[in-house]
């Protein structure tokens, strides 16, 4: 399984008829077992890029080559659950083939075991995010997209959820693409970091972290972050 991204441009026309360029040149490949991180300022076009990669938007220049039969799991920025279905129904609807054992294990990791029969309207944002994560993992994806899964959660909760995501990502050999604007999350979860420019987005710098994710200790993480923060991204 491999994802080849070769986008040369993406623009849209505003209601006033003005042309807006959202993406410039974005070229990279992602292999199975690898976690790519898209790192860039807010509003640089990350979500647009994700939509293209997820096959939700076909209106762009260039091409994206996906392996045939690739299963996509996606965690949107907002949880996007069906409010009229329970937590379990939401997950099973996307993943009808999931067996009870797998689902129970998944709910255990994400601390959702007590919430099977709750409706999304009864959940906090943190819990709803986890249901969205459970849904994406339940389909046993070949390609996982995580769009800012830790945004607007408090530090303790974000930290716990980050560890849970790390556990789940490590449990399966798939391509993962994470979008974040938090350097700490990027360094802890990613293998390759793609630094994006402000709009129209292009890749400024690619940082490959050699040490496997599980073996990175606090000092190494601190060192990588220190080096990265010295990058002069503004002049690339």
């Amino acid at each position: 399984m491999q994802l080849e991204v070769n986008i040369t441009g993406k623009s849209f026309e505003s209601a006033a008829g003005k042309r807006h360029d959202v993406l410039d040149n974005v070229t990279f490949t992602l292999n199975a077992g690898e976690v790519g991180v898209l790192f860039g300022p807010s509003g640089c076009g990350k979500s647009t890029l994700l939509k293209i990669l997820a096959g939700l938007d076909g209106n762009y220049q260039g091409h994206v080559t996906r392996s045939p039969g690739m299963r996509l799991g996606m965690v949107f920025q907002e949880p996007r659950l069906l409010p009229w279905r329970t937590v379990e129904e939401n997950v099973r609807l996307a993943a009808p083939e999931v067996d009870d054992g797998t689902l129970a294990a998944l709910f255990e990791v994400l601390e959702l075991s007590a919430h099977h029969n709750h409706f999304p309207g009864e959940l906090s944002l943190g819990l709803a995010r986890r249901v969205a994560l459970a849904r994406a993992f339940a389909i046993e994806p070949d390609f996982l997209i995580l769009d800012e899964p830790l945004a607007s959660l408090d530090n303790a909760l974000a930290g716990r959820l980050r560890d849970q995501i790390a556990t789940l990502v490590a449990s399966r050999k798939m391509m993962t693409l994470l979008v974040t604007h938090d350097l700490d999350d990027a360094v802890r979860l990613g293998d390759r970091l793609f630094f994006l420019s402000p709009r129209p987005a292009r890749i400024l710098h690619v940082e490959t972290i050699a040490a496997p994710r599980a073996t990175r200790g606090e000092p190494e993480i601190g060192e990588i972050k220190r080096q990265l923060s010295q990058l002069d991204l503004a002049n690339m």
């Binding site: 939509k51 907002e78 389909i139």
Partner: protein, 245 residues
């Protein structure tokens, strides 16, 4: 309990009014009741109520099914909306009487003409309501369904239909009351049975107890159907909202 009280108040008012106005114009409740019982004994009451109910059920189902489909299409596809909109405005503002008379002229005094005419009267309101519902569909959930490759049928049932449910309920509610009103006119003008026909006969003979007997039993049937069928259906649809609140 409160309903019973309100019903008793209605009977009392009626009785007093009939004493004031006089039996010729407004017969007292017992006179109407005896006519009602006589009609029920002969079976005529049930034949006529049954005929009217069958027409209501057929026309309502037809108009809801076709109207919902057209409304959904017009809300989702802008070409369909542009093509259909002038017709919709025309139908919305066409008086019921015109539709019924034309239907009887073109299709004869037949059952098909009556049901079609009633359905055509109800159709545009269902279209308008469902078009609004289709326009209000959440594109974020559509994207979710596409990203997770939900098959069309499953996406429609679990993602689209629950979003349309309140609009379908609203269309059913307003449509049903419209059909109740129009069905009697259609029967009055061109059917040999049904509540509307009997009211027409009673009007020509100036038989006010008969007129009231049919009107009230019809109103009773409407009330029962509204409380037993429509209201529980609405409650069921919004179950997830009640729990969330």
């Amino acid at each position: 309990m409160l309903r019973l009280l309100s019903f008793a108040l209605f009977i009392a008012t009626w009785w007093i009014a009939s004493l004031v106005i006089g039996d010729a114009k407004l017969p007292a409740p017992p006179a109407v009741l005896s006519v009602l019982i006589a009609e029920a004994r002969s079976g005529a009451l049930f034949v006529n109520l049954g005929a009217t109910l069958a027409r209501v059920a057929l026309a309502f189902t037809l108009a809801m099914a076709i109207g919902s489909a057209i409304g959904y299409l017009m809300g989702r596809v802008s070409l369909a909306n542009r093509l259909g909109d002038p017709w919709l405005i025309l139908l919305l503002n066409l008086p019921a009487l015109v539709v019924i008379v034309l239907a009887y002229i073109w299709a004869g005094l037949t059952e098909v003409a009556a049901i079609a005419a009633i359905a055509i009267n109800k159709l545009p309101t269902a279209v308008v309501t469902l078009r609004e519902g289709a326009r209000a569909l959440d594109p974020a959930l559509d994207e979710m369904a596409t990203a997770f490759a939900l098959p069309r049928g499953r996406a429609f049932r679990h993602v689209i239909l629950p979003q349309l449910a309140p609009y379908i309920a609203a269309a059913a509610r307003s449509g049903l009351s419209l059909v109740w009103k129009i069905v009697l006119v259609a029967e009055y003008l061109g059917r040999p049975n049904g509540v509307g026909f009997e009211i027409g006969v009673a009007f020509q003979l100036f038989d006010i107890p008969l007129l009231l007997a049919y009107s009230l039993s019809f109103a009773g049937v409407v009330l029962v159907i509204e409380t037993v069928m429509v209201q529980p259906f609405e409650t069921r649809l919004t179950r997830w909202r009640l729990r969330a609140a």
